[in-house]
Symmetry: D2
Subunit: 259 residues, 4 copies
């Protein structure tokens, strides 16, 4: 088994300068440790809890920033798409396109994503059993594209709460594709603050450690230099200054499990 990779970034793009600062620090901290790193950021938040939530910089400006990060820093970049039309446009500038959890069963989106030839990270819907990702994999693979990643981001557990079922990581791994644990969105409290989602950032480190201990391939952790100022997902983000210590722990655990 390969050592774990880190997918990380600021949730939504704020500006090139901000993306460059964050990605630069993350490249530094991961390359020092030999951890494969993918920069992730969204150009649009298409399913905010309410209209009040900030949407993002838009697809053109966003993809330009992502391409600049890739070129300047040499790390692969990942972004999420929301329509079939966006797939080819995004795949032109990024390495991995991501299918949001709510959209994980939209056939046309999966096929359009597959047809780009880009790597595709599918987030398992909060409503989906882990064994049912096989149907998603089959939809994408029908395009001839088998560069697939599968992400656990929590399952619905009553109202306004998710639970991370750690069994889903080995279950999804049976597909043969790498499995990512999204430690940021798994601790979301959906809709829990009226017009936005709450979060429990204190559980990101223990859940990320737990996921690595099961033997998964990657973790996704959103970060910000000042989470309370992030335009989205602040309540479940890890502070940038705390990433190095967390990665040290995850790397040591990963080495034990994959020894």
């Amino acid at each position: 088994d390969l050592p774990f990779a880190l997918i990380s970034g600021p949730c939504q793009l704020e500006s090139l300068d901000h993306a460059r600062m964050l990605a630069g620090r993350l490249v530094e901290v991961t390359s020092e440790r030999g951890i494969p790193y993918v920069f992730k950021a969204s150009f649009d938040k298409a399913n905010r809890s309410s209209l009040v939530g900030k949407r993002g910089v838009g697809i053109e400006a966003g993809l330009d920033i992502l391409a600049a990060i890739r070129d300047e820093l040499g790390c692969p970049v990942l972004t999420d798409v929301h329509t079939a039309e966006q797939c080819a446009i995004a795949a032109d500038k990024v390495d991995i396109i991501q299918i949001p959890a709510f959209l994980c069963r939209q056939t046309d989106l999966l096929l359009a994503a597959g047809e780009t030839g880009a790597a595709i990270n599918v987030k398992k819907g909060q409503f989906l059993a882990p064994w049912d990702v096989q149907n998603i994999v089959d939809k994408i693979a029908s395009t001839g594209n088998e560069r697939i990643l599968l992400t656990e981001r929590g399952a619905s557990f009553g109202y306004n709460m998710l639970v991370s079922d750690m069994r889903s990581l080995p279950i999804m791994a049976r597909t043969g594709f790498p499995v990512v644990f999204d430690a940021t969105h798994s601790v979301q409290l959906p809709g829990g603050q009226g017009t936005s989602s709450g979060g429990q950032s204190e559980f990101v480190p223990p859940l990320a450690r737990a996921a690595i201990a099961t033997g998964c391939s990657a973790v996704f952790i959103e970060t910000h230099e000042e989470p309370s100022r992030s335009p989205s997902d602040g309540p479940n983000m890890v502070r940038l200054d705390d990433m190095a210590a967390l990665l040290d722990q995850l790397q040591a655990l990963d080495r034990v499990v994959k020894a």
Copy 2:
């Protein structure tokens, strides 16, 4: 409170003849009883469990059939849309456009639907708390369109199962908009048959009765002359020949509750 309405049809369109036969029977059985009736059918099943599932006749052919039903039989017609682009196209031919449950938080889709001026039926996501539909309502109402219906179709309850929380009907009614209980999809067993969803049609009548007894505005019940031959949702459909007796019961219950 107004008497309950029925939304019913064959799940996905098969042909004009088939739609005409079903709609004709449903118009007959509801008009005899004075029950307001809306014909519902899908032109595309955009989120089938797997690629193996039949997708449908397509948007052009489908809307033509729906428009023909409306013209010939005089009943309003409803169909579901899957992209922002489809909203205006569909609204040109149908009375009510429906937002699928998985897509109930996609802002662009809600805004595009709202802007058509058509009535909009939003199915509450399996992952959404009933009080969180207020944010959805606000997104649509921001377009100036307040012709909104809200549908309960079951909440995630562990894996491969939904539960119908009857509290959600009065909770969603607090928005001031009519609330529909979807008795067909609430008894779905999502992904429960490998490449398709199973269902428990034996629970459609008791759950429909329960919903009416809480005082909701409408029920949605899919029907087919031979459910086992339906290209989708067969396991949770009511046989066409059984609709009249069920409607008699629902109507009597509705009169008690709204007396």
Copy 3:
């Protein structure tokens, strides 16, 4: 199918005078309507959320009050037991002994209850699937006692919340035994107030109506002349003065469903 019965009372016994007043009013309101009625009260609350909660009058004083109610008012009485030893003692004074939901799988308690020959009302655990009550029924029936009632009181749904799955009523009815819907405890918010359970009394009427509409045999509704003064379960009780109107509605619905 027989018309529905009402099981009702003050949750925990406060005094003979109080029990007499409540039972008297309930006998009056049910006998006027021809609704079979069972008085229910607890002599001990053995599983309060915290030590702060009031426990009750004790088994001796409690059973004396229950026996007095039965003798004076002529209605059957029901109380819950918590140990195997209490079964025979309680069965000497009451008509129906009740097994609390948390204890529904305790074999010795079920056998001791069965051996008394009294009727036994088992509350389905919040953790139990409705089809799994068959094993409970079999444990009791092994004593030769088949005077069994089964009660739905909500299933765990995430933390601090229950959901009433109305499917469980017809599913439990497949055992051949009468099924009771406990509208009071189904709207409990377990542990939701720190050292006590919260509740949503506004949902008691719609859920009771929904349960009757499925066709169940009885409903259990706790009541108090002033719920906010009840030593337990106040937040989910129906005010005594509101019982008559609710019963009228339930009776009319019951007649429709069992016509």
Copy 4:
């Protein structure tokens, strides 16, 4: 933080010879590694799914075996009690008495257990939120006994399935008491085989690793030389021969997390 401890044994006692063999092997494998070890076995299974399930050797014979194991092998022993009366009897022979999950809110049982002065391991009910264990702790501590352990054994997740919420380990740790992860019962499928509970023993190692990675104090893992011959819980047991390798992994992870 102290290194993790192992609680392990055969689920239910079969005979002194069998207990001696298992405990001997477990003492050997843990002492070689410096892992604190507690032998656990039940003298009675008081809440089997159905009457068909084997109950156990009984309290007298069972406690004698446990006392013999303690004397011969020098390891502390743990057993579960089901009534208030059993507490003092059991505490006379064992070091730790365990409160079963279904009984975790039975006040009299908790008080009787507390009054023995023995250490008490409370299994959190499948229906209980992790923050609500504080009320349980307070009940026990009211007796002056603060030798308390708290065990996570899975939360209800729909029907016939549990989910292990790894957040519950740090949440329960806020009480200040050691937290145990029960990797055996967390993978139970309650009632999932008709008259007995199924299990998913393949998930015991990843969940045990995940729990250790969060930083918990102990893990509970049932074992048997031949799980398929165990009179209970066979489907979720780890084979005795596989324990050493699993413990090596857990110990290495524990050292990373507590470094």
